[in-house]
């Protein structure tokens, strides 16, 4: 259960794949790509472009450069913030001086910088998409056109229209034999994989319930304060506080809870069909973002099994960041705290005490953020089937479904979420620095927030 497999996968080598995709590129009129591709057939170096140079993007690029199975090099970077790009570049260059070749002419600071960065690659190279998720489908679409393999961070979509587009793009990328990793790295964790085998083998009996928690203080940019007066662009302000704006990130639910939701669904080997949820805004102070402070989501699977998910971003309270499974015979820790190490355990019965442990993972666990890259690059070099998009979209839709249930106060099914027509940010493909921001503050400086029970067919109203 390492990865989902592509039944249509060929056994072509990377080299022959590059030849194939060269003709695709040529057919698309990308002649400049053609000349580079001829060169590509002569070496095995994988070139990487980093698009979205924040902390996670920089970390992902480092993981990429640390894969030790052949030449790999970072050759281009793009972001909408110059300071993000330059600090990311300095860091990567310092740590991997021989694997970073990104001169100024391959550093792109603009909304279409992702195109320019990908234009420096050849088919078969890798684009890292680590911008806020709103832009994911736009950039993935271009990467497919360029015949690029892709690593994209989670979540991969935040609303219905983007999810439907991403499913289609995912299918296209499978058809073109592109290798696509989605940053749900817990699925690459070897200890969790063993836990899943044990659950399948009936070690906790029939699975009855799953629980997941991410209850910490304010996280990321979710608690966004007003735009500073000296920051000119409203659009850049919203992107820089992307956790605070639902169009950009899906907010605290989508960005923070998806891993725990996904790993629970993985252990269940199914996706829930509906969600009911509650939540609210208790402390606001001078925050103007669109998030609730607390979320409690009850998911139901097709067989009636329940999954309870709790998120809280209030400081000073009890902290828990973990996932658990409960069965008829016993219970299990899916992840103990944070995402890694997982510290998986199986207990006899429901009381999770030391004496009741019947199995626990090893003391030392390999870092799943590295494993997901080892697996992706290995699949590229050996031309193994490797495409995580469909799974990534499903995890994103399921997460959004819980969020929408909380924000509307309505029971939301998987289909309700997927088919929801509310497009949070129309016009993303053509967005420039001068475009209007997708949400606007009212005269008091507040952005539209969810109104459960009042606004019930979409998650927030117009400004």
């Amino acid at each position: 259960m390492n990865h989902e497999t592509n039944p249509n996968a060929s056994s072509e080598t990377r080299r022959s794949f590059i030849k194939t995709s060269t003709s695709l590129a040529a057919a698309a009129g990308l002649t400049s790509t053609l000349s580079r591709s001829v060169h590509a057939a002569e070496d095995n170096k994988i070139r990487v472009a980093l698009i979205g140079c924040g902390g996670r993007g920089t970390g992902a690029a480092e993981n990429a450069l640390q894969v030790d199975n052949g030449e790999i090099e970072l050759v281009a970077m793009a972001d909408v913030f110059e300071n993000r790009l330059s600090s990311s570049y300095s860091r990567l260059k310092e740590n991997h001086p021989n694997k970073v070749d990104v001169p100024k002419e391959r550093q792109f600071v603009s909304f279409d910088g992702y195109k320019q960065a990908m234009d420096t690659l050849r088919p078969g190279d890798v684009a890292i998409l680590t911008t806020p998720p709103a832009f994911r489908w736009v950039m993935f679409k271009y990467a497919i056109e360029k015949g690029l393999n892709v690593f994209m961070e989670k979540p991969v979509t935040v609303d219905g229209p983007a999810s439907r587009k991403m499913f289609e793009l995912g299918k296209l990328s499978v058809e073109r034999n592109l290798k696509v990793g989605v940053g749900l790295m817990c699925r690459h964790c070897v200890v969790r994989q063993e836990l899943l085998d044990r659950i399948r083998n009936g070690e906790i009996g029939d699975l009855l319930m799953l629980r997941a928690y991410r209850m910490a203080g304010p996280t990321g940019s979710a608690a966004a304060t007003k735009k500073p007066d000296d920051m000119k662009s409203e659009l850049l302000y919203q992107i820089s506080r992307f956790h605070g704006f639902l169009w950009a990130s899906g907010g605290a639910v989508s960005d923070f809870l998806i891993h725990n939701i996904d790993e629970c669904c993985w252990m269940k080997e199914d996706w829930p069909v509906e969600a009911v949820a509650s939540g609210g805004r208790h402390y606001r102070n001078d925050c103007v973002d669109q998030n609730f402070d607390t979320y409690s989501i009850e998911y139901t699977f097709g067989d009636g099994t329940k999954m309870f998910v709790n998120g809280r971003t209030i400081p000073g309270c009890h902290n828990e960041f973990a996932s658990y499974a409960h069965g008829t015979k016993g219970s299990a820790v899916i992840s103990a705290s944070g995402h890694s190490p997982a510290k998986c355990k199986i207990y006899t019965g429901q009381k999770m005490t030391r004496n009741n442990i019947v199995w626990e993972g090893p003391k030392s666990e390999p870092n799943p953020y590295q494993l997901e890259w080892n697996d992706l690059i290995n699949a590229i070099r050996k031309d193994l089937p490797y495409n995580e998009v469909e799974r990534g979209v499903k995890a994103s839709v399921v997460t959004s479904m819980g969020r929408m249930a909380a924000h509307t106060g309505v029971r939301i099914t998987y289909e309700d979420m997927l088919n929801c027509e509310h497009e949070f940010a129309p016009g993303l493909e053509t967005m420039t620095l001068d475009s209007p921001a997708p949400v606007r503050a009212n005269a008091q400086g507040n952005y539209p927030v969810p109104q459960p029970g009042i606004i019930t067919t979409r998650e927030y109203g117009d400004s």
Binding site: G55, G59, E62, T219, P315, G338
Partner: protein, 368 residues
């Protein structure tokens, strides 16, 4: 009104609790006992100019219910290090040499999340905002070391082991140092990490054997949380027997940051005899003392030293890695001291509060 009495550690006058803060056990500068000029909470027992005047007191953190009990440690001379021949002694624990340390107060317990989180999660600022309480001058001074410091963690730094009453963990030495600077500004009293010499002096509390209760490791479970009795994680502070000077958990529970650079070869390179401090010139290794909940008895000895390593931050998925959080140091916390003789600002900047390399925040989290 019991909370008031407890807060001040003295039989405070029972004045009607008309303020939100005092009725909730929240330390407040608006308390009638407090001078209005700079907002310092006056704690009579914390006032001393000579060693003889030093008393136990309870430090308070404004706009929060957190408390830190402080115990006076008189100056003295002791033999630092473990003697050759002591069972399980390691090379970095010697040579034994005589060291003199000046008087200081030391926290009776390891710093808990209750106190650390006020700084880390800005709980006092949050309290002010929620309740529309105006910042005092002391608040404003302290804010320089707060708000953007530290960056907010992406994970639960308690690692599911418990929060209220439990020791804070996983902070870098820089974070612990910055907490002390913040606390000093906040309270108007100078706090810092102990030097390694002060820590060992206080831990030994006049004893010379492997532990402050003797050499018999079978007694350790009465005094310490360690691998044999801790189970899945750390425990609430102050539950085990204290050492002869009334300090709890010097052995075990969490290993504690001190100010010094670690010297794997031992003390031979620096045998200063009075208030020694080896100012760190590299990020790793720096010293933690006392051993933690997941370590064995050997690591808990009074003379045992542990040097920090990059493994302590191995799981940080961000790059550059945080200067505030050690994702993999679940056994590392700290306690604070307050020297009776406060150094000058110049001495602090050059010595007590100084280390290299200078820790710089990674790219500003929010663009302007």
């Amino acid at each position: 009104m019991n909370s008031r009495i407890f807060r001040f550690g003295v039989a405070a006058l029972c004045i009607s609790g008309s303020l939100i803060g005092s009725s909730l056990g929240i330390a407040s500068a608006q308390d009638p006992k407090v001078p209005a000029d700079d907002g310092t909470i006056v704690i009579p027992d914390a006032v001393a100019t000579t060693q003889e005047q030093m008393r136990r007191y309870t430090e308070l953190i404004e706009h929060s219910p957190a408390k830190i009990e402080m115990i006076p440690i008189p100056s003295g001379t002791f033999n630092m290090g473990s003697p050759e021949g002591q069972e399980n002694r390691k090379a970095d624990e010697g040579p034994v040499h005589e060291v003199k340390v000046g008087p200081f107060w030391m926290a009776k317990c390891e710093i808990t999340w209750d106190a650390y989180d006020v700084w880390m999660s800005d709980l006092d600022v949050f309290y002010r905002e929620v309740n529309k309480v105006k910042a005092t001058k002391r608040d404003e001074l302290a804010d320089e070391f707060q708000k953007s410091q530290p960056t907010k963690p992406y994970t639960d730094m308690t690692f599911g082991m418990g929060k209220h009453g439990y020791p804070a963990i996983c902070m870098t030495q820089h974070a612990a140092r910055t907490f002390c600077k913040w606390l000093s500004r906040k309270t108007g009293r100078y706090y810092r990490l102990p030097t390694e010499a002060e820590w060992e002096y206080a831990c030994r509390a006049g004893t010379t054997e492997a532990y402050s209760f003797g050499s018999d490791a079978s007694e350790l479970e009465n005094y310490a949380w360690f691998v044999d009795n801790a189970g899945e994680g750390y425990h609430k502070v102050g539950l085990k027997k204290p050492n002869p000077w009334g300090l709890h958990d010097m052995h075990g529970n969490v290993a504690e940051w001190v100010l010094d650079q670690h010297t794997p070869e031992g003390y031979s390179a620096d045998l200063r005899t009075e208030n020694p401090l080896l100012v760190p010139k590299t990020l790793y290794p720096r010293v933690v003392r006392g051993g933690g909940w997941n370590q064995d008895a050997v690591a808990l000895r009074s003379g045992a030293r542990e040097g920090s390593t990059e493994d302590w931050i191995a799981q940080d998925p961000q790059s550059p890695v945080s200067i505030w959080y050690l994702t993999d140091a679940l056994h590392v916390g700290f306690r604070i001291v307050r020297p009776l003789n406060e150094p000058t600002e110049e001495e602090k900047n050059k010595f007590w509060d100084y280390s290299e390399p200078i820790q710089k925040e990674r790219s500003v989290p929010l663009e302007r």
